[in-house]
């Protein structure tokens, strides 16, 4: 069992790293109508569900910093990604026992809910003052959450997220 898990990790992490590199280097090309998935977020979910809480929270902060370093956006919001990702992983880790005990459907709805809340928090701050909050929700938050969740589901189909 342990050997199997190790084998699975040996494939999963290089695969996620590759996905992550594609995500950050070709970020412009994987966008659909300006909507881009957050591959780092997918990576974070996998880490949070499979590794210890210490690794997960450090990864969240570091990934947030990395995202802002390699994907320049608005200088005004430098620090927003590590903040949002740290808070997301903290919430995920705190609610994890409850989420893992729940039914499969509830488990996935919870994951989608967390992704949605992350994007809502991020986008409302990011577009604050110059895009109406309702537009932020339907134009950015919902499609971005769905796109990222879809990639998370693809990863789940190959490497089930509930196995910890």
């Amino acid at each position: 069992m342990i050997v199997n898990e190790k084998k699975s990790s040996l494939i999963l992490y290089p695969l996620l790293s590759l996905l992550f590199l594609i995500g950050i280097i070709f970020n412009d090309f994987i966008g659909i109508a300006g909507i881009r998935p957050d591959i780092l977020l997918v990576f974070l979910f996998v880490i949070a569900l499979r590794e210890s809480s210490l690794i997960a929270i450090i990864a969240a902060f570091c990934f947030g910093l990395l995202q802002e370093l390699v994907l320049p956006g608005a200088l005004l919001y430098w620090g927003l990604s590590p903040l949002a990702k740290t808070l997301l992983v903290f919430t995920l880790l705190k609610t994890l026992p409850l989420i893992l005990r729940s039914q499969k459907l509830v488990f996935f709805i919870s994951l989608f809910g967390l992704i949605f809340v992350y994007y809502l928090f991020y986008n409302l701050l990011y577009y604050a003052g110059f895009i109406n909050w309702l537009t932020v929700i339907y134009r950015y938050t919902v499609p971005e959450s769905a796109y990222t969740f879809l990639i998370l589901m693809l990863v789940h189909m190959i490497f089930p997220l509930r196995e910890k």
Partner: protein, 263 residues
């Protein structure tokens, strides 16, 4: 005592780390411009621009072919206009000579491709495929065929980061044509701007154009910026509240020109 503290740290490590990370993030958020970050971002863009080059060039090729078809149609019309323009230019030159003026266009235009438009839709930082190797310098002005786009804020060897004028923090010294009245332009929302410091004693009308004033240390004069769409009186009655639209469609930008150096 120490063992209790150790136990507490072990037991609450998640909360402690979260508080530290949130604190650091908030500290970063409080600093609006960080030059170390800009240097790191430029280095990364330098590296990735090599990898992304084939894809970008393919995309560019497709667009160029589309544009080429359209341009062929325009060539005929432009040729006719060119003949008229040449005659006007000669007349202008003659008049300038009479007035003792010299040619004021002293910049070379370097074409550049936008290789990255930011992680989020609507960001104001773009990455260009030109850098120090092409003589690009910090604060080099960026334009496209419609007008002013922004300025270079950080330069790498092969790429550079540029800030567009359509962003909340940007202020631009402008001049309204044809009355030649000066003011400060601020981004409003989307592709629109506002100017709110023009006295009502001056006649300003919708449809008039806004150009750079030349009073700024960065932007030379007479670069088209936008067109006035609405003129209203402000609450105090002494100044206008002028709204307008940028000439440059910032959302659909793909190619730009960089002002390189004095001729």
């Amino acid at each position: 005592m120490l063992s209790k503290l150790y136990d507490f740290i072990i037991r609450k490590h998640l909360e402690i780390l979260t508080v530290i990370f949130v604190g650091v993030s908030l500290l970063l958020l409080s600093r609006t411009e960080n030059h170390v970050v800009l240097v790191l971002q430029t280095r990364w863009q330098d590296f990735t621009s090599v990898i992304k080059k084939p894809l970008i060039e393919q995309e560019h090729k497709r667009r160029v072919m589309e544009e080429n078809r359209q341009l062929r149609k325009d060539v005929f019309l432009l040729k006719r206009e060119l003949a008229q323009a040449q005659s006007l230019m000669m007349e202008n030159q003659r008049l300038r000579d009479m007035l003792g003026f010299r040619d004021t266009s002293k910049y070379e235009l370097l074409p550049a491709l936008i290789v990255y438009k930011g992680f989020k839709d609507g960001t104001n930082i773009i990455t260009l495929n030109r850098g120090k190797r092409d003589n690009v310098k910090e604060n080099s002005v960026i334009v496209n065929k419609e007008g002013l786009v922004g300025r270079v804020i950080a330069v790498g060897n092969r790429s550079s980061l540029a800030g567009m004028i359509a962003e909340p923090e940007a202020r631009l010294s402008i001049c309204i044509n044809p009355v030649r009245v000066y003011g400060i332009l601020k981004w409003h929302h989307g592709n629109t701007f506002v100017i709110d410091d023009i006295p009502t004693s001056v006649d300003v009308r919708e449809g008039w154009t806004v150009m750079t004033s030349g009073l700024s240390e960065i932007y030379p004069e007479n670069i088209p910026v936008g067109r006035i769409t609405k003129v209203t009186s402000s609450e105090n009655g002494f100044t206008y509240l002028i709204e307008g639209e940028y000439f440059v469609p910032f959302k659909n930008l793909r190619e730009v020109f960089i002002f390189i150096h004095d001729r």
